[in-house]
Symmetry: C2
Subunit: 520 residues, 2 copies
Amino acid sequence: MGENDDSDIIEHHVEEEMEKKAGVRGLSSPRLDSLSPSEREGHSSTQSSHRLLAYSDALISIIATVMILPVAHTKVEDNEELRESVQLLLTTKIAVYLMTFLIVTVAWAAHIRLFQVIAHIDDCLALLNLACMMLITFLPYTFSLMATFPENVLGILLFCGCVMVIGVIQSVIVLYAFSRPFLLNEQIQISENLTYYKHHILQVIMRVPIMCFFASIFSFIFFQLSYVLLAIIIFLPYISQSLKWCRSKAIGQVEETPDSMLFYTYLPNEPLSKERVEAFSDGVYAIVATLLILDICEDNVPDPAVVQKQFGGSLVAALQAYGPEYLAYFGSFATVGLLWFVHHSLFLHVTKTTRFMGLLNTFSLAFVGGLPLAYQLTHEFPRNSQNELEAIQISCVIVFFAGIFQLSIWVVALYNEQETLHPYVWYGGREHVFMLAKLALYPCVALGTFFLSCILSKFSTSIFHLMEITVPFAFLVLRLLVRIGLALLRFIFCPNRSDLTTVVDDEADETRVPFNAVVT
Amino acid sequence: MGENDDSDIIEHHVEEEMEKKAGVRGLSSPRLDSLSPSEREGHSSTQSSHRLLAYSDALISIIATVMILPVAHTKVEDNEELRESVQLLLTTKIAVYLMTFLIVTVAWAAHIRLFQVIAHIDDCLALLNLACMMLITFLPYTFSLMATFPENVLGILLFCGCVMVIGVIQSVIVLYAFSRPFLLNEQIQISENLTYYKHHILQVIMRVPIMCFFASIFSFIFFQLSYVLLAIIIFLPYISQSLKWCRSKAIGQVEETPDSMLFYTYLPNEPLSKERVEAFSDGVYAIVATLLILDICEDNVPDPAVVQKQFGGSLVAALQAYGPEYLAYFGSFATVGLLWFVHHSLFLHVTKTTRFMGLLNTFSLAFVGGLPLAYQLTHEFPRNSQNELEAIQISCVIVFFAGIFQLSIWVVALYNEQETLHPYVWYGGREHVFMLAKLALYPCVALGTFFLSCILSKFSTSIFHLMEITVPFAFLVLRLLVRIGLALLRFIFCPNRSDLTTVVDDEADETRVPFNAVVT
């Protein structure tokens, strides 16, 4: 492809330019002069880090969703009430899933920060990163050991051990990159206080392994304290940030550290590589969408002997028993696919991702992860049972929260639209209403289905299936619907509106008001 | 990030330019004049297809590797000989895995071709593509039904039904895109014979569903014929291409269809989007690397009650039983990670991917998929048993083939190096020898381990573990090793070479000779 050729040539040109620059700087900077010729030759191996990061994102997204599998494979019995079994699940496996998701995304955010500082890689960094990945993929297992045996020291030790080694590897990566400044981000490369940056970054990175070290020591003495320490590690940035915010509100002054502001600040509006947020989300959506087909492919191919014996050789009859599973698969694939579609549309118009948006995105993805299971449950119980109704309501709640967190990403982005959004979707931009309709469709539909299934509990299954079938078509004609709404508006020239679009538009006004108030 | 901002702004600028162009063409072309204003307004929703394709690649790579799970979860009994159980596996599940992999990659290649023609998407195309993906992800299941019940019509019907619907959706996508030419590839957009392209592409796409239609009809009459037809569908491009090649050799003339050459030609040097080959490979490598940890997370967290009863409450003792599984995980993660690293290094220097390179890449990936299982087997048998030896040898064979197919991608690329490779790695370029050493390391080591384990069968496990541990370090110091080799060469100034690099270099000369002979 012509385009690919170009981009690749550009990539290589970048390398060459980097080399030249590094060479020029080498003449002035004593650091580079001290390099041996063979070390300086090493430049030729400088590579764009794009693919390494894509691979890391793929690995991390798989690992983040892996703990949903034990939840998925827990059999819910027909005879007991769903409420009880769900409570049982909630207390253990779902909690483990959510915590693992959170821990892995914290590791992922740390990885993003690291590679926002390091813009180019070489073979050595690529191999160090793979070692780091190997340990990150082991984290969920150590965490689930810790959750299953909360009073055993081993789980804590393994978890802390992994985190410490990850921290040490990341420090080595930072030291290595700062010893070859041509690998660094341009902004840092041209900065005067390279050493200050190095110390600041190392300090932030080493904070976590050091706290883990203490946690692992305390585990021998008083293991409850270890858990407190570990919780502090995970929530540290949020705690310190909210403390800072409180202090700044109380004292009334805002601290500005202009040069160190860019990296490792843990401010809610610290930039987070948009490309990587997309790649990670794509990975999670792709795995979640295929979760059910993985099980179907493995478990639902009937045994020829069984078919012969139980169904008189009729494969159709044998497969009919699996009917609900196929339905659940297609339903969950469609829902996850459409949620991805909304996410894709949203991020098409996002020009800068901030940490806070990333956090909301994580919440949305955590709910998406539970979706296939909820869908699977809806088909597992006898028709019109209390269990079925509850399974459908749980599905609606999950879809609602997945959608509402996507919507909130947009609301947060609008709060600072000049920086984070494309003018098309600014308040009053020509795509604004359409975008809002897209984002609001799933939460509204889920809410509607939820309440309808409460009122018309007899028809809950039909309502749910109707929802599954109509939503894709609603997305297909959404632009038309919005356009009709806007045309009607223009035609009527007055604010009393009557259709879907305008309901949505009113909502927008409502959500806008507090933000306008805050801004002004 | 500044970079992201820029690229996004560029993307949006592209959209605006596209709109302008389409608008200008709209004045001259009757096709666009006939569009209603609302349809032309639709331009504003034109989007870069990058993320849609990344998501599709992620889905397809998961689906391609899914049939390895039934293989993975087949328990190999300790008391019977591995040879027998492997033969049992080989005949059924492994064959299903390999065939599914092939079928899914064929669907993936068709998807690439389609989106090389369509460069931009809108919401409607994104939704159609999701529908297409849903059916592609269902293909492995229908195929495994077909394989389990070869004489039952249902499997064939389901498979053919899926393929037909996929074909119809793809045709709709093509028709939709040609009705809005601003969505098309620039080369096609500026081409004179748009209608010719449309008919050519539709013809190629519809060929498959039509043949499937006949296959499904024949399945009622004489189902063996259906299988022949399906096999023809999968291998059709290769068969027709080799027939064409034979004819051109026999008659001595080469047909050139300059304008239609670019798309849907099925020539071995037809370009295949490099970005997508990378994304698909990343997906497969990521899933394969984490296959074992998925099982570990799900199955190897011991039950507290069991630990209390069987191990006297000692978690360490309970976990020791799983020791081999951890070892297998780390070993396979490292090997898959390093094979990814080699793949990454190779594609960094590839500027254009051809269909033939894509095919070799598929073969390499299919072997990579089997690697975790082979590694898992190596630790499942009692020490120094015949089974263990064979498991180790199978692992070596798999690693060897995964590596050798990567090497062959490079050899094929060298055959046409002016077009496909960056000058750095051309024959004689400064990275040439280093690249060759990287690509040859795994095949050489695997071959060495294989023969060593044949000779010193008593120490096979130690040799295998030694190999696992040393290879990552060999990659770390590979540049140094190559440099020492080259320095020695320069020092000696004569062709009798004595170390690793030169052995590798000789190999390069050997592989070069026939190709040079062909070229000249």
